[in-house]
């Protein structure tokens, strides 16, 4: 009898703990535009506060991108989408290498753009999406001196994972990142295969990092 009670107590508390964990996980899920806003403000404030970053300290900018932004990006999806149909023919090892090299290339480029930030302010535009949407578009605008710069993100819902949303494409001034790499990747894959593309990316990353 006593044992029965203990057992029941155990199950109920396990259930409760499980439930509270689950609700907590969901409670942490932000809205997609909330996430973008938090990330943008966070990154901009960090850059503005740190003189070494604005001075062009690449390792610092890359570290910032890696720790703050990358956890909120579905990089596998981004790479797969840029590589196109050839992605499915790639071995898991090739897919891993493609992701690593593409990521290195993009993080560096993005970091280069970020280090030019000075007095910019981000404003998030009102989002048109229903709560059931699995994929949403968040639009924002970077305002500084000069014309405002359009900066949009596509996000997918990842319930309970990370912040609840992950970025899988972004556009600057109407130019989508994934689409801009698609024909360059296809050209190389058609000419020299997946390994050719990996080689080209690796070569470019090496040349870029030499520039310091």
């Amino acid at each position: 009898m006593k044992r029965d009670f203990l057992l029941r107590f155990f199950w109920v508390s396990a259930l409760l703990i499980g439930l509270s964990c689950a609700t907590q996980a969901y409670a942490e899920d932000e809205t997609a535009d909330g996430l973008i806003k938090r990330l943008s403000v966070d990154v901009l404030e960090t850059i503005k506060a740190d003189k070494t970053i604005r001075g062009g300290d690449m390792t610092k900018v890359i570290a910032l991108v890696d720790t703050r932004i990358m956890p909120n990006v579905n990089f596998q999806r981004m790479t797969a989408s840029a590589v196109g149909p050839a992605w499915r023919q790639a071995t898991p090892e090739q897919q891993k290498r493609l992701q690593e090299e593409f990521k290195a290339l993009l993080v560096r480029t993005y970091a280069g753009a970020l280090s030019q930030v000075s007095d910019q302010v981000i404003s998030i535009k009102p989002m048109r999406a229903s709560p059931e949407d699995k994929e949403v578009l968040v639009r924002s605008e970077v305002k500084g001196s000069g014309d405002p710069i359009q900066l949009d993100y596509r996000l997918e819902k990842t319930p309970g994972q990370g912040a609840g949303w992950k970025i899988y494409n972004l556009n600057v001034l109407g130019v989508w990142l994934v689409e801009t790499y698609r024909s360059q990747f296809a050209q190389e894959v058609n000419a020299k295969g997946i390994d050719g593309l990996i080689g080209l990316l690796a070569e470019r990353n090496k040349a870029n990092s030499k520039k310091g």
Binding site: G84, D147, L173, G174, T180, Q184
Partner: protein, 252 residues
């Protein structure tokens, strides 16, 4: 203003007669290359072979002359001065945007463009200070290529213009009119007119040195990178920042 627009057609014609002869020769040379085939054709870029030759020519010109000149200029001038020069030419461009926004029947954009020109030409000391932007009157840059696009004219094949770079058949056809529509090209004195053009181009190139370096690092094939970026950007402008999806992205 009045005199400027009255003499606009004649000076525009002269401007183009001077240049077309030289361009014609270059174009013939380049068109001969257009028949060559490319390994992986893109449906938006049937003239890729020719375009790549012109792109190569522009790239050499940029590396050898334009970029070095712009770099020296950037290092020799203070930021406020380059900003002022950019503002001055933007103000001239805004005058042409007034016409195009009107042709697109965009009341608010036309009104704001007029307000910008009026405020910047007076309070902004002939356009050198962008007072209007500080007053939150936004720019609505519009040229004839965009106007045609918004009236439903398709972009046609991608084209790379000698000296001017990425364009499309539609944008290139509208380009001479855009040039003629810029008050800077309506100045009668050839020396002044050419001088202004050079200052404008060098000032623009100087502003894009940083961005150019980012592209150098990010692009695997600079030609395709810039082509795809240009076509997307233009399409985005035509659809006012909200273009319909072209095709579904490939799922992983």
């Amino acid at each position: 203003m009045n005199r400027g627009f009255a003499s606009l057609t004649t000076s525009g014609a002269r401007y183009w007669r001077d240049r077309l002869t030289g361009w014609g020769l270059l174009l013939v040379a380049v068109l001969l290359q257009a028949c060559a085939t490319v390994p992986y054709p893109d449906r938006r870029d049937p003239l890729e072979s020719m375009n790549r030759s012109i792109f190569g020519f522009n790239d050499v010109l940029d590396r050898a002359i334009v970029k070095p000149v712009a770099t020296v200029y950037r290092d020799a001038t203070p930021t406020w001065m380059r900003k002022g020069v950019a503002n001055f030419f933007n103000n001239l461009e805004d005058m042409w945007s007034v016409v195009n926004n009107a042709l697109q029947l965009r009341g608010k954009d036309t009104g704001e463009s007029i307000a910008r020109v009026m405020v910047n030409s007076t309070l902004g000391v002939l356009g050198f200070v962008d007072v209007a932007s500080d007053m939150n009157v936004e720019r609505h840059t519009a040229n004839l290529g965009l106007t045609l696009g918004r009236w439903g004219v398709g972009s046609g094949p991608y084209l790379v213009l000698p000296f001017f770079g990425p364009s499309t058949l539609r944008d290139a056809a509208a380009f001479p009119v855009d040039l003629a529509g810029n008050p800077a090209n309506a100045i009668d004195d050839v020396g002044t007119r050419n001088g202004l053009t050079v200052v404008n181009l060098v000032n623009i190139r100087a502003a894009y040195i940083g961005a150019g370096n980012v592209v150098e690092e990010a692009a695997l094939d600079k030609y395709s990178f810039l082509r795809d970026a240009y076509l997307q950007r233009r399409r985005n402008q035509v659809y006012d920042g909200n273009p319909p999806d072209e095709e579904e992205p490939v799922e992983p």
